[in-house]
Point group: C2
């Protein structure tokens, strides 16, 4: 497989960085072709602005990104990442959970690379989405290090369930342009990882990576599968046993 | 009141920018003292890295930010924002919803300003949080422009309910260090706002701003109020009528 790893941590010796190294080493050993977008090492520009677009006529910011995509005037750093996504069969995002989401530099990779015309459309130029789109046929998985312990991120945990905290990324960013999203690889208690624990986590990660091609994705509902009405609300009665919130968008 | 507006949009003429202008004008007219952190205009550095910390001994990234906070060696841009937060009675975050969250530059304001020691602690140096913390006694409110229409963000909408999409910001970022979080001011269909519609939205915003001191905050459960057990899970039976997910952390 062609595997793109997008990695976002400022310290190469961090737990996140070390697990990225484990993944690169293991995947290459298994014969995959691996490319790494190390956002900090690349000096990735995190903030989206009009300088990303080159010469465009449109003034609305969202539409201007679409014009720049259509006419090929996006900056080379953005086009390179779009090409990597199209090249990849599987995309891994390696990051620490900061304030219950991804670090700003990774959010800026999404904001700048997932342009209008590429990852989404608007109005009369709407694109297929949620289970369909330019990245369909690809798989994605998060590898996330988390400072807090697991119970605080469980169904009744004070931080909210981790699967709900990750829903805006899983469903809203990865599934949106068509990728199949695998269950995340999570490491809790990231501040308390000694050598023994690290060896266990690395072994778990290697085991998970060996199953990248076979593991079942999260069963999100495709937007165009008949489950949603014209206003894009889930039709009545389709959700399982009294589910509410994000969970209604998963079929099993 | 002292009111801090943190504003994140690259285009001053955008809907988000225009609504920020409405807020500044109205709040000053009403006699409040208003300061604006216009992140794009400030050239705000979005990515957190060790250059933020000055001279510190600690190598763990999270703990290093805490050491820098304790010894006063955080960069001046970060210290200035921390001082603004302490000065403010109310904090407004004005931003467009990009990929179901805040723009990277605003996430980078959170990542860099909400340092260890200031907004959170770890291990034996844990700080009070969720309803208590350095920003307690302050109010916060989001003003968010959203491209899509409201039904797609409703309880059964394909994007997920907007109150759940915003939970990681409301609860995880604002309530965490102690702020009371007001219901957000949301503008859907941001690409289709003509002059008539803008005048209506601006009037709604002015009306909302007049109630900043009196409107009821979202009733999140304080972590130390007895509702959570030692593993930080909500005790059984406290949630209303079969609620699950994020909603169990709201009392009414």
């Amino acid at each position: 497989m062609n595997i793109l790893i997008v990695y976002a941590h400022p310290e190469p010796d961090s737990l996140t960085g070390s697990l990225k190294d484990v993944a690169v080493q293991q995947l290459r050993q298994d014969g995959h072709d691996v490319r790494v977008s190390d956002l900090y090492a690349m000096g990735w520009k995190a903030h989206a602005d009009a300088a990303d677009f080159g010469d465009v006529a449109e003034t609305n910011f969202m539409l201007a990104s679409g014009e720049a995509y259509a006419n090929g005037s996006l900056t080379p750093d953005i086009r390179a990442e779009q090409e990597k996504l199209l090249w990849a069969d599987t995309v891994l995002l390696h990051f620490p959970l900061w304030w219950f989401s991804m670090p700003a530099i990774l959010k800026g990779w999404v904001d700048r690379v997932f342009t209008c015309g590429f990852a989404y459309g608007v109005g009369s130029r709407a694109l297929p989405r949620y289970g369909a789109g330019i990245l369909s046929g690809r798989r994605a998985m998060l590898v996330v290090t988390i400072g807090g312990r697991e119970p605080g991120y469980s169904d009744r945990g004070v931080n909210g369930p981790i699967e709900d905290l990750l829903f805006p990324i899983h469903h809203g960013i990865l599934y949106y342009p068509g990728m199949d999203v695998l269950p995340p690889f999570l490491v809790h208690g990231s501040l308390r990882v000694n050598d023994t624990r690290f060896a266990e986590i690395a072994a778990d990660l290697r085991e998970r990576l060996a199953k990248l091609e076979t593991i079942e994705p999260i069963r999100y509902r495709p937007q165009d599968g008949g489950d949603y009405d014209r206003s894009l609300r889930l039709r009545p009665g389709l959700e399982r046993d009294g589910r509410t919130g994000f969970a209604v968008h998963i079929t099993s």
